[in-house]
């Protein structure tokens, strides 16, 4: 009998060691990432966030939760993760509401993650998965078993950088207490900032982006031309409906917003098309939706150089102003004193025709583009 069982025990030992090998590979090759930090922050036992901002990179740079806290008297956090698609946001929200008594979710919608021609394959689906709790992880696997690569289930290999200097850095970061304590320092890049945040970390998931005016990123925007006319993909629709259902089930107010990107890119890309599509989409589902791309210059003065790039990652100064505006706006909406004409142009065309002039009027400064 013993002889019969022995090979199977060996198999189990082999698999157990294999799990250590995977963990070892992650430890050596995977950098200490921001997703690990923010997911831990959201799941901490000593915090309870009632307002959560969810989205991708535009949201992370645009909304300062401290401003919302000040104006609305809430305890908010910016949980946006660069590169997070709608399905990632769903699992993230599911995880967040397990550990927080969430009352409001501000979902910053980025149309790039909704349109059909957004490249998507089984490789860019998995990075949130690595930081999920076991139950949500199993749900993730259940929903993605047709797409997820087995290697990505076992390891965080998509984040690997197989270079000596990266290995050295990973080992140096991960052998410090800041990594094990989930301190933000463990996610800092060479410049001392959170990777791709381009500015000092303020707290609650928000970094104050410093704007140098020399990173237009125009070529990337060129690749987006025409995308605004694409239909929405089925996957984000499916997952947004799941988010909506989750919020309804848990009595959470779901507010969808589009934080304003560089005015010239709004015009160049013709984002009134996107505005119309999202308006129809959210209205059909009875979801609050506010698109700030056509917010008046008098209310939020902004020129292209206030952004880190033409893609529309907001610089810290405008982000703080926008966050205050968003807070007041949400308050007005809750009070019922919201008047559209106070905030928005009469149409996108109205904005295209007047934004430069209005900016100068509002600030006394000349409008600057990249």
């Amino acid at each position: 009998m013993k002889e019969k069982i022995r090979p199977y025990i060996r198999c189990l030992i082999f698999l157990a060691i294999l799990a250590f090998v995977f963990a070892g590979l992650d430890f050596v090759f995977s950098p200490s990432g921001y997703v690990r930090y923010i997911m831990h922050e959201l799941n901490r036992k000593d915090t309870n966030y009632d307002t959560v901002i969810v989205g991708a990179s535009h949201a992370r740079s645009a909304i300062n939760p401290y401003k919302l806290d000040e104006k609305l008297g809430v305890n908010s956090i910016n949980a946006a993760i660069p590169g997070a698609a709608v399905d990632d946001n769903y699992y993230q929200i599911e995880e967040i509401i397990k550990h927080n008594d969430v009352k409001t979710i501000i979902y910053d919608v980025d149309y790039q993650y909704w349109v059909k021609d957004q490249p998507k394959d089984n490789f860019n689906r998995s990075f949130v998965y690595q930081q999920l709790g076991l139950k949500t992880k199993l749900e993730y696997l259940k929903n993605n078993y047709k797409y997820i690569d087995l290697r990505n289930i076992c390891t965080n290999r998509l984040a690997y950088k197989v270079k000596l200097k990266n290995i050295e850095r990973n080992l140096s970061v991960k052998t410090k207490s800041s990594y094990w304590n989930y301190d933000i320092e463990a996610t800092f890049g060479k410049n001392g900032y959170v990777t791709e945040a381009d500015g000092p970390y303020v707290g609650k998931g928000y970094s104050y982006r410093l704007v140098s005016g020399d990173k237009p990123g125009g070529r990337i925007v060129d690749q987006w031309v025409g995308r605004q006319n694409s239909d929405f993909d089925e996957l984000p629709i499916e997952y947004f409906d799941k988010i909506k259902a989750l919020c309804d089930k848990n009595n959470i107010r779901l507010v969808c917003v589009i934080s304003p990107i560089t005015p010239s890119s709004v015009k160049y890309l013709g984002l009134e098309t996107t505005h119309k599509k999202f308006k129809d989409f959210f209205s059909a589902r009875g979801v609050e939706f506010y698109d700030f791309n056509d917010v008046k210059m008098s209310v939020l003065p902004r020129c292209d150089t206030d952004y880190g790039d033409l893609e529309g990652h907001m610089g810290g100064r405008v982000a703080d102003q926008y966050s205050e505006l968003l807070a007041s706006f949400l308050k007005d909406c809750s009070d019922g004193s919201y008047d559209k004409s106070d905030y928005f142009y009469s149409s996108f065309q109205d904005m295209y025709d007047n934004y430069k002039k209005d900016y100068t009027e509002a600030t006394g400064l000349e409008w600057k583009g990249y």
């Binding site: 090979p7 199977y8 060996r10 082999f14 060691i17 294999l18 090998v21 995977f22 590979l25 090759f29 394959d121 089984n122 490789f123 696997l141 993605n144 078993y145 047709k146 797409y147 997820i148 690569d149 087995l150 290697r151 289930i153 076992c154 390891t155 290999r157 998509l158 690997y160 197989v162």
Partner: protein, 527 residues
């Protein structure tokens, strides 16, 4: 259902667990169910082709078997009252009847393959001809999409029909068992082209559970994934880019593209075979090997005996020998001997080679470039046969020892070069493009290779180094195999810590260096 995604591994796990839990006599039914499920995962409508193929083959073989049995029974019952002439006449009549049956049955077997794969090609060529004749009539094309693995299961079932006709195998009376032979899931995508006499029995009998089979099968799968993910997928981006736009490159870029294509194709196809054979081994089924260190071949003929072996043996058994031993070949032999002397005796063999490689070319796809690829190989083989007396003379004059290591090494290098020239036709979009690229490969002056240039063509220096090291590892393994070392048995004989270290290293190797930006489908799954 891609081989690297979770779905496939869950599917495989379920297949194995249920297979070994079921009583032996029901196991083949389970294999049939999972094979159909697997095929349907590529599209529900495509299953029609599997059903059609099964139906045709079933009816054909039953009819052939019936004719043979009736003939035998008639002869037995009339043994006493028939003269030997009458018996001969009856046998000839029966043979003719069987020939007519098999002709129509093979026609029905190949009709879906030819109809789907070659109709549009034929129409396009007719349209070109019509245009050249100055007519304005354009025949519309059908744009058929070939079901996955159609070339493989058509050839596999055709071999079964012919073997039944020849009396080499017993006819299978259960159509569902036959269906399993047609669509057994690991091999349906890209072979190997199995034979009923070896594969059928293993599929239907239900195999004993053996942990060693599971372990060895998993090792083989891991090795296949390493080849596919590290070499093939990493090389694909550069290869596709250069071959798609050869005018933008030239010189060393083209030579590198051909060499990488060689690595990609071998790693992709043989890696796929490792997966297929590994999965089958886990089910206790031994599949035919499709590769035997092809790049150690010393001639094109030997190369084709080591590369895609099951297609080569299929061609040999069902085309080459039947043609070479036919009356037509004998008449050609007689005629050519009369006109060209002793050398003329070889003409039927040359014609058989050309026919085979024409079919091999057409089998690869409906395009002139594939026909050119086939004919290139066929011509080399045919010319080699014709030049045998010249070679003999050459060795007599030069006193070169054929068995000497330097000469053997030169033969390997020469064959490798010839094989790589053939890839130009295989991978280029058109024959014209292949010829242009061949010429441009020697245009070193205008296009000096640079790392920046390679990077622009889709491959970083890191990728190149990873592929080169992986190819070197593959070469070392191939050298051991060529010397008769059974690698897996050898590893199994090591002490446990060393053995496990090798496995962990291989797994880590796949995770660290397997291509990240997307896993492409297996190349031969398109055939």
């Amino acid at each position: 259902m891609s081989f690297t995604i979770l779905e496939f591994f869950l599917f495989l796990l379920l297949t194995l667990v249920v297979y070994y839990l079921l009583p032996k006599k029901f196991r083949w039914i389970w294999l049939l169910i999972v094979s159909l499920v697997y095929y349907v995962s590529f599209g529900v409508k495509k299953i029609v082709f599997v059903l059609w193929q099964t139906m045709v083959v079933y009816l054909a073989t039953r009819l052939i078997d019936k004719q043979a049995r009736q003939g035998k029974a008639y002869l037995a019952s009339h043994k006493a009252d028939m003269s030997s002439e009458e018996k001969k006449a009856y046998k000839a009549k029966l043979k003719k009847k069987k020939k007519i049956t098999i002709f129509f049955m093979l026609l029905a077997t190949f009709i879906s393959l030819c109809g789907i794969k070659y109709t549009d090609f034929a129409i396009l060529n007719v349209n070109i001809l019509i245009e050249k004749l100055g007519r304005s009539l354009i025949i519309p094309t059908f744009n058929f999409v070939a079901p996955i693995g159609i070339s493989f299961f058509t050839f596999q079932t055709a071999s079964y029909v012919i073997d039944v006709y020849w009396g080499k195998v017993e006819v299978e009376k259960n159509p569902f068992k036959l269906m399993l032979f047609v669509c057994f899931f690991p091999q349906i995508l890209e072979g190997p082209i199995g034979r009923f006499q070896t594969l059928g029995k293993q599929l239907f009998e239900g195999n004993d559970y053996n942990l060693k089979n599971i372990q060895f099968g998993l090792q083989r799968i891991l090795f296949g994934l390493a080849k596919k993910l590290i070499i093939a997928d990493r090389s694909a981006a550069y290869v596709n880019k250069v071959f798609a736009n050869p005018a933008a490159y030239g010189g060393w870029y083209d030579i590198l593209a051909v060499l990488l294509y060689c690595a990609e194709l071998y790693a992709d196809f043989s890696g796929g075979m490792d997966l297929v054979i590994g999965i089958a081994q886990m089910l206790g089924i031994t599949m035919d090997e499709n590769f035997r260190q092809p790049f150690f071949s010393k001639s094109i003929g030997e190369f084709w005996r080591r590369w895609h072996i099951t297609l080569g043996t299929w061609m040999k058994d069902y085309i080459f020998y039947p043609f070479s031993l036919s009356k037509v070949a004998a008449n050609i032999g007689k005629w050519s001997k009369k006109h060209f002397g002793e050398a003329g005796k070889k003409l039927p063999v040359c014609i058989a080679d050309l026919i085979i490689f024409f079919i091999v070319g057409v089998w690869h796809g409906a395009a002139w470039k594939y026909i050119a690829y086939g004919m290139y190989n066929g011509l080399i083989m045919a010319v080699s046969v014709l030049l045998e007396p010249v070679y003999k003379k050459f060795f007599e004059v030069t006193h070169i020892k054929k068995k000497s290591a330097p000469w053997q090494f030169w033969m390997i290098i020469r064959t490798f070069i010839l094989v790589n020239i053939g890839w130009y036709f295989d991978m280029s979009p058109t024959v014209r493009s292949a010829i242009f690229m061949m010429k441009d490969s020697f245009n070193f002056a205008s296009n000096k290779i640079s790392l920046l240039g390679i990077e622009k063509a889709g491959m970083s220096l890191k990728d190149l180094i990873i592929v080169a090291i992986a190819c070197l590892v593959l070469l070392i393994i191939s050298i051991f195999k060529e010397r008769g070392v059974l690698i897996r048995e050898k590893i199994a004989s090591f002490h446990l810590p060393i053995r496990w270290f090798i496995y962990y290293a291989l797994i880590a190797w796949v995770i660290l260096f397997g291509y990240t930006n997307g896993t492409s489908a297996f190349m031969y799954a398109n055939f």
